[in-house]
């Protein structure tokens, strides 16, 4: 980069100088290479890493990590990565084989480490063996980001991992994380206020795939669902029937679709329960950039406002 260019691009001058000052040893080509397994943690990584990292997100917007088929290009990216950010708790079913295939030596960082995990020995989903429904355990719910306080743990884990991999960039990562953590604290308060505005006995929603147990725990909205945490499991007619009973008993207010799965099951539930669809909640993935939930903060805001609007009729 020449002096001419710097003076010509006056506004960017300070930014460039600042960057040059903070990372003298890392040229543009030597960015920290980061792979995030899915869009939500990709967003966290983008915020913490800023332009010091080269980010590849495997499972993109509106996509379901449960059914993701990794590509050879993903394996190549993993092999070249310095840091691989994963959710853990068996959320990324494809991960083990992908890591093996890649032969990567990158640090694999489990972001749910240290998070407050919903451990429910009865958690899981139904499975059918010889026509018999058998409940199968998934005792640690992986959808921990649906709690903002857990999201803060993810962010802290990312900052720590980036600092370990790139000590020179550490002050920048920590500064980015600190600003974002304040934003998340405010987001948590905002969600609580929004839920408080919903009459207490109306805080019952219905979804197909219960990815919202952390939201339920932290913010007090009950979610009813016919199945467990894996979208690969099918809900049987019997499950739906008992769900309909539960919906009536608990006077659930609305049924919601999810961005990562098609709405056929929830449409069936809604029609059987005599409820209408209250909109789409974002569970396991962000929306595309032009959608209503293209960042984590927007995702949480969108979910709570969608819940509130459908339940209170506003």
């Amino acid at each position: 980069m020449t002096m001419m260019k710097l003076t010509r691009f006056g506004a960017s001058l300070i930014a460039v100088l600042f960057a040059a000052f903070v990372l003298p040893a890392r040229a543009e080509t030597e960015k920290l290479s980061v792979v995030a397994t899915f869009s939500i943690i990709g967003d966290f990584a983008r915020v913490v890493g800023g332009d010091r990292i080269e980010l590849r997100t495997l499972v993109g917007p509106d996509s379901d990590a449960h059914v993701y088929a990794p590509k050879p290009a993903d394996a190549i990216a993993l092999a070249r990565a310095d840091v691989v950010l994963v959710n853990g708790l068996l959320f990324e079913g494809f991960l083990q084989r992908l890591v093996e295939a890649s032969g990567t030596s990158a640090a694999i960082v489990t972001l749910t480490d240290g998070a407050d995990i919903v451990h429910d020995p009865d958690g899981g989903h139904y499975h059918y063996v010889n026509g018999e429904a058998i409940f199968h355990a998934a005792p640690n719910d992986p959808h921990a980001w649906q709690s903002v306080s857990n999201a803060k743990v993810y962010v802290e884990n990312i900052a720590r991992a980036f600092c370990t991999a790139d000590a020179e960039g550490c002050p920048a990562y920590e500064a980015n994380a600190a600003v974002y953590l304040d934003e998340l604290t405010a987001l948590g308060d905002e969600i609580r206020r929004a839920v408080d505005a919903i009459p207490e006995d109306r805080r019952v929603a219905v979804v197909a795939h219960n990815a919202f147990r952390y939201f339920e725990r932290d913010y007090g909205v009950t979610f009813l669902a016919p199945q467990g945490v894996s979208t690969e499991s099918e809900a049987s007619a019997a499950d739906v029937a008992s769900l309909i009973r539960e919906i009536r008993e608990k006077r659930a207010a609305a049924v919601f679709a999810e961005n990562i799965s098609d709405a056929r099951l929830v449409e069936q539930i809604a029609s059987e329960a005599g409820l209408t669809l209250g909109g789409t909640l974002y569970s396991d993935a962000l929306s595309p950039v032009d959608g209503p939930a293209s960042t984590y903060v927007d995702l949480m805001r969108h979910n709570v406002s969608t819940l509130g609007a459908a339940i209170t009729g506003n």
Binding site: P70, K71, R97, G124, E132, A133, H136, P139, A238
Partner: protein
């Protein structure tokens, strides 16, 4: 029993993820079966890939080409010459439970659903939907794997214009079918279209001149054309078709045979006689890598376990391990004598499959299978197979097994379905060498019958629980258990070799000694073990024999058991409806209910 060898990175990941990764646990079971057809004889042989034992030989109508479904639960024998397709239940089934996978192992079985028609050829399965193509018919037949496994055939048909050598890819309510050449249907198809089962075409026809060859990988299905690949995917409603042209960097050529990656989403096609092309569709124009082979290709297959690799056998008898990421041959090994690609396309030549840690190569002219270790790429053994072993598919893997002695499987298994981890017990599959005789001390203690609890309504919540998740009502379950639990022996104590039966409060005492065990094969095809004890001396009213069934096959303390007793050892083995059941006398009614509900 052998296990899959795990790479260090896999273990590292297991540790990183901090969860109970199934494969890392000690009570996993591994099973692999080879299904091998003969070049000349109408047979399909089932061979245990781990010990080379011939398990079954199924007679079919003609020499067969074999296909397995993605679940591995079924293998299809397509007999083009004989105009017949047979389905075989592989006997190995997996159930994914998120935090672990289960494996169910039964005998393989030739199912009673032969499908006959004119010139059966391409077989395609996508998520349990199967399209069987008949070159001599103007309709493709579509049915489900699930129905076939239940010995039923619920065929739907879709029109394909005119009889031709084509292919169909089945989805829930649609089929992608090849479009015959309008000038001469005996030439290769010219494209593909989406149709439904009511005769409607959905969307536009997509050109695919010279269409031949198809494969699936993850959620994508690919058809090979002279111009590129057609990529089919389904998101929501009807499937959509996209054309991906061959990269401009490739030399002149095209694919007519495809295989699809497992664990990684890619395709490999032939590209001329002595080259293959690896395609990562997500990378578009940049996703093509050409690999030169030393001689002409005979056959290829992907490694479903070590996703990075695929294997190609060439006519010089070399097996090549292809690194899909690098686009290079990583290793080569001379495995068979040369098999020239000159001569008829259907001459006997090697075929390749992957079973667990080994790559298996058929050697039809030498009546054997070669085993090559996939990691070390060294010869790992041979299996002799009579005749000309030709086509081969492998089915298997590792999973957890549940203790379930089968005889009560219908309603009772639920109680035991989740005690895995305690001991190595599982439904219906074990090698005989794994069964160990057990001493009476395994059942030492004071035991109470649970029959009175069933009668007085204590177990009603258990029945309601079963009904909630099962397919029968609580009343039906109760009736079933009424027959199962019924007994007039309310208590049993076992102390050393002295067993005391309490019948209406009256003790009957005798000394018993081990009389071995018997393996029962139940109607459903699974197996169980009865541990048998014979009276040495004691009260006249005590039974000559009793037999324990507690879902265990080797020494371990029983937590509850089912007991069969009487004076005729052989007759007792036939008893499968009445299985008086005993829990420790120290448990109160509430604890027994909890115990039953917990599983």
């Amino acid at each position: 029993m052998r296990r899959l060898t795990l790479g260090a990175s896999a273990l590292a990941i297991a540790a990183t993820l901090g969860g109970g990764v199934a494969f890392a646990d000690e009570d996993d079971v591994t099973a692999w079966r080879l299904f091998v057809s003969d070049h000349a004889e109408p047979v399909v042989k089932v061979i245990d890939a781990l010990d080379g034992d011939l398990l079954d030989t199924f007679k079919v109508e003609g020499p067969a080409t074999l296909h397995r479904t993605s679940s591995g639960a079924a293998v299809f024998a397509v007999q083009g010459g004989a105009g017949e397709v047979n389905a075989i239940k592989s006997g190995i089934a997996f159930h994914d439970h998120g935090d672990h996978g289960d494996i169910d192992i039964d005998d393989a079985e030739l199912l009673h659903v032969p499908i006959d028609g004119s010139k059966p050829a391409h077989f395609v399965e996508v998520q349990g939907n199967i399209a069987q193509w008949f070159d001599g018919e103007d309709e493709v037949r579509v049915f489900t794997e699930k129905a076939v496994l239940e010995d039923k055939l619920d065929v739907r048909t879709a029109n394909v214009g005119a009889p031709h050598h084509g292919v169909a890819v089945p989805y829930q309510n649609h089929v992608v079918v090849s479009i015959p050449n309008p000038e001469d249907a005996s030439k290769r198809p010219i494209g593909a279209r989406v149709v439904d089962f009511e005769g409607n075409t959905v969307g536009e026809d997509v050109a695919c001149p010279g269409l031949h060859g198809s494969a699936g990988s993850g959620s994508l299905y690919a058809l090979a054309c002279d111009t590129g690949l057609l990529l089919i995917k389904q998101e929501g409603g009807a499937p959509t078709i996209e054309h991906l042209p061959y990269a401009s960097s490739l030399p002149e050529g095209s694919s007519s045979t495809l295989i699809g990656g497992k664990g990684l989403q890619y395709f490999i096609g032939n590209y001329g006689a002595d080259r293959i092309v690896i395609v990562d569709p997500s990378e578009g124009e940049n996703g093509f890598q050409l690999v030169q082979l030393p001689t002409r290709r005979v056959h290829f297959t992907v490694d479903p376990i070590r996703s990075r690799f695929a294997y190609v056998i060439t006519e010089d008898g070399q097996l090549h391990k292809v690194d899909v990421l690098d686009g290079k041959i990583a290793q080569s090994l001379k495995v068979t004598d040369p098999y020239s690609m000159d001569g008829h396309w259907s001459d006997p030549r090697p075929r390749v499959a992957v079973a667990g840690e080994n790559v298996i190569v058929t050697d039809p002219l030498n009546a054997k299978l070669h085993l090559v270790n996939a990691e070390t790429f060294a010869e790992a053994g041979e299996i002799a197979v009579e005749g000309k072993p030709f086509n081969i598919v492998a089915v298997g893997g590792s999973g957890k097994v549940h203790d379930d002695d089968g005889e009560e499987a219908h309603a009772h298994s639920h109680e035991h379905a989740h005690s895995h981890g305690d001991d190595q017990i599982y439904k219906g599959y074990f090698e005989d060498s794994q069964i160990k005789d057990r001493a009476l001390s395994d059942w030492e203690g004071d035991w109470q019958s649970v029959y009175p609890y069933l009668q007085d309504g204590t177990l009603d919540p258990v029945m309601a629980h079963k009904a909630e998740s099962g397919e029968q009502t609580a009343e039906e379950y109760k009736a079933y258990y009424e027959v199962g639990y019924k007994t007039d022996v309310e208590r049993i104590t076992i102390d050393g070799d002295i067993v005391t039966f309490f019948k209406d409060g009256k003790p009957l005492k005798a000394r018993y000694a081990s009389d071995g065990h018997e393996i029962l094969t139940y109607e459903k095809g699974n197996r169980g073990v009865r541990f048998i004890f014979k009276k040495v001396e004691g009260d006249a009213d005590t039974p000559e024999y009793f037999q324990f069934s507690d879902h265990k096959i080797a020494p371990a303390k029983a937590d509850h058991y089912h007991l069969y007793w009487g004076d005729d050892r052989a007759a007792l083995l036939k008893e499968v409806t009445n299985w008086p059941t005993y829990y420790p006398s120290s448990l109160n009614a509430k604890e027994i209910v909890e115990e039953m509900m917990a599983h």
